[in-house]
């Protein structure tokens, strides 16, 4: 069931590339319905990743909380049958001004660079060479997903998309957390005790719960806001008439 962590198998590469692809898919696809479906798939893959990292309970929690509940909530926001009017499935909100795009990219890349530097210092210089273990690979993927999430969160306006972005950002952070606390870390500071795996899993679990609650709350609020003010963004704007 578990794959040996010492060698990076092709399956891990496939997993990682699928994760990245799905993350990009749900952040960029104009059709939100598809994007949410993509998120469900992403959560399921995340669950697989936890399994790969040796945390079946986390995998279960991810499948249950992430894929089923969060994904379900988001999908329900678009297609559910309630008293409130549903959201339009197509995201027509404009992106943020191009003027700030370079700044945004600079900041995000610096952020990634900073995280990367910290990770390299934690995991050792080996991490720079082609990844030697699945956990290292997944950690690097986590950083990339985090970057994607950050970009989408700061660049997109649609609140559902931002919720998605937040969830992806969270997944990236969780992956990074799990990678840092991997069974055999090569830390700069030689600490005698083994890494507190149980606490790390508790952290991730709490994070999953918070993400779920936040998504549910956000989705409910979004529906309310849409029903009351007809807007799906934070700042009221007329997305269909950008010329005005």
């Amino acid at each position: 069931m578990t794959i040996a962590p010492a060698a990076v198998s092709a399956a891990a590469w496939v997993l990682v590339s699928l994760l990245l692809f799905l993350a990009g898919f749900c952040l960029l696809h104009r059709n939100l319905w598809r994007a949410c479906q993509g998120f469900v798939a992403f959560a399921l893959l995340m669950s697989l990743a936890w399994l790969v990292l040796g945390s079946p309970w986390l995998a279960l929690a991810e499948a249950l909380l992430g894929a089923l509940l969060t994904g379900g909530t988001l999908l329900w926001t678009l297609r559910g049958r309630g008293a409130l009017p549903r959201l339009a499935p197509v995201d027509e909100t404009p992106r943020r001004a191009r003027l700030s795009a370079p700044l945004r990219w600079l900041l995000i890349l610096s952020w990634l660079g900073l995280s990367g530097v910290a990770l390299v210092m934690l995991l050792g210089l080996d991490a720079l060479s082609p990844p030697t273990s699945t956990s290292t690979l997944l950690t690097a993927t986590g950083v990339l997903i985090m970057g994607l999430g950050l970009w989408a969160f700061s660049a997109q306006r649609h609140l559902l998309r931002r919720l998605l972005a937040f969830n992806l950002l969270g997944s990236g952070v969780f992956l990074l957390l799990a990678g840092v606390a991997a069974p055999v870390p090569v830390s700069m500071i030689a600490h005698l005790e083994p890494a507190p795996i149980a606490e790390v899993r508790a952290l991730i679990f709490i994070g999953l719960v918070v993400a779920l609650l936040g998504s549910v709350l956000g989705a409910a609020l979004l529906l309310q806001l849409h029903a009351q003010a007809g807007q799906v963004t934070l700042t009221p704007m007329a997305p269909r008439h950008p010329g005005r």
Partner: protein, 484 residues
């Protein structure tokens, strides 16, 4: 009988239980609330007084998980303050629901959220490892967002959504910081990390981690460039919720930040100065915005931004300064925190009373209140005394200590900040008072309020002033400066 961990557990979960009870049957009478919830602050006081023989600390093992907790004088004081303010807010809410038309379901939801908030805050005060801190902070944050969203109108929804999104992202940032810390130190308990940090040189990973978690906490604590979610949220929130939020919720983030900073980077002077500068900017920016604010509640919210900025002065005054300076700054910080909590709750309640009675939301609508609502206006003024830092309030004592600390350590910049901040507070407070004393406005219909609502606010404002007069008692419980 001396306090045991079971008492702590009881004090943590009793508010939540009461909140759930009230969810089923929402209380409508302040007397009932007082009767049921009165034991909570009393137990907190008993805990505080029971700490004579040093702080309590311990571990709780849940299977493979080990949770660390600790109750020292500071934590007990803050817990007592929390319970008092929550009680006051609950009492106010019971009167508030009778005076205004609130949604029944929304009102019922207020109570479990308040219980959850109490639990989250309690966890934060007594947590001694990052896991508990994280759990407490997230619980508190979600409950706070939930409470803020209770009014349910579009304005509140937008503001609340923004608050929700950024609170979530902020907690992810802080989780990222925790992850890096975990990688660097391999442990989550604060005492252990502090012990290691005191002997080792700070390594870059720790610094990056602290920068990340600090930015997350700054966002949650509404410190200057990351404060902009605060004022809109307060604009439409219920008065008792605003009172708790302005008084306690934002301060919890500051508490965690100071705790971690003192534990991990006690000697990082440049970083401390950067935080101090952010705080100074917050003081000025909050003051200016409050000066130009249109609505009364926005004004009070902006004043919160400014007053939180003062707290950030603790960082530069504690980092690398002499023991005497650090002691003064340490005491000033907690005194300001407590004094501002009381005064801000009182001010929100007084402002809520004024708005409720006049039915206006803008400052111009306050005309004539000097005659019709003298008690609420007086409460507002008394609370403002603390905010402006006039003697004999707690705000004055705190600022005086800061001033002395700044002069003693030669950090003149903070003197200027303190002076400008007080000036700005005076300006915006007198703007409110000037509007209230205008008499030539057309006669409005004033709604009469229950006396209890005005009295609660008055008691809190007087407590803030009394805290300045009797500052020695709470300060005697504070441990000397240092890592907790």
């Amino acid at each position: 009988m001396s306090p045991t961990p079971l008492h702590l557990l009881w004090l943590l979960f009793a508010p939540l239980a009461l909140g759930l009870l009230a969810w089923v049957r929402p209380p409508r009478h302040s007397g009932l609330v007082l009767f049921v919830a009165m034991p909570l602050p009393l137990v907190a006081l008993w805990l505080l007084l029971g700490l004579d023989d040093g702080p309590m600390a311990g571990q709780l093992a849940l299977g493979p998980l080990t949770l660390h907790w600790r109750l020292d004088g500071l934590a007990a004081l803050l817990w007592l303050l929390t319970q008092l303010l929550l009680l006051a807010s609950a009492l106010y809410a019971a009167g508030y629901v009778r005076t205004t038309t609130l949604g029944q379901r929304a009102y019922a939801w207020l109570w479990p959220l308040m219980g959850g908030l109490a639990l989250g805050l309690g966890l934060i005060w007594i947590a001694a490892d990052l896991l508990l801190l994280y759990a407490g902070l997230e619980l508190m944050g979600l409950c706070a967002v939930g409470m803020m969203l209770l009014p349910g109108n579009a304005e509140a929804l937008t503001a609340g959504l923004r608050y929700l999104l950024f609170a979530l992202v902020g907690s992810l940032t802080w989780l990222l910081g925790i992850a890096l810390l975990l990688g660097a130190w391999g442990r989550l308990d604060l005492a252990g990390m502090a012990g290691l940090a005191s002997v080792a040189q700070p390594d870059p990973v720790t610094q990056i981690a602290v920068a990340l978690l600090a930015s997350g906490l700054l966002l949650k604590g509404a410190i200057f460039p990351l404060h902009s979610w605060l004022a809109p949220v307060h604009g439409s929130a219920w008065t008792p919720v605003s009172a708790i939020h302005g008084a306690l919720v934002v301060k919890a983030s500051f508490f965690i930040l100071l705790l971690l900073w003192r534990a991990l980077l006690p000697e990082a002077i440049a970083g401390a100065w950067a935080l101090g500068l952010l705080g100074s900017l917050a003081v000025l920016w909050g003051g200016i915005q409050a000066w130009r604010a249109v609505g009364l509640k926005q004004l009070v919210a902006w004043s919160t931004v400014g007053q939180l900025g003062y707290l950030m002065l603790a960082f530069p005054l504690l980092a690398g300064t002499s023991a005497a300076v650090a002691l003064m700054a340490w005491q000033a910080t907690w005194l300001q925190l407590a004094g501002h909590a009381l005064a801000k709750a009182a001010m929100f309640m007084a402002a809520g009373n004024l708005l409720l009675s006049t039915g206006a939301h803008r400052l111009e609508g306050l005309t004539g209140t000097s005659r019709r609502l003298p008690l609420s206006l007086m409460t507002f003024g008394l609370a403002a005394v603390t905010l402006m830092g006039l003697p004999p309030s707690a705000g004055f004592t705190a600022k005086w200590l800061w001033l002395q600390a700044s002069l003693a350590s030669g950090q003149w910049l903070w003197v200027v900040v303190l002076a400008l901040g007080s000036l700005l507070s005076a300006i915006y407070v007198f703007r409110v008072l000037r509007c209230s004393f205008v008499e030539d406005a057309p006669e409005q219909a004033f709604r009469s309020l229950p006396l209890g609502m005005e009295l609660i606010a008055l008691v809190l404002a007087l407590a803030a002033i009394g805290l300045g007069l009797a500052a020695g008692w709470p300060l005697s419980f504070l441990a000397p400066v240092g890592v907790p």
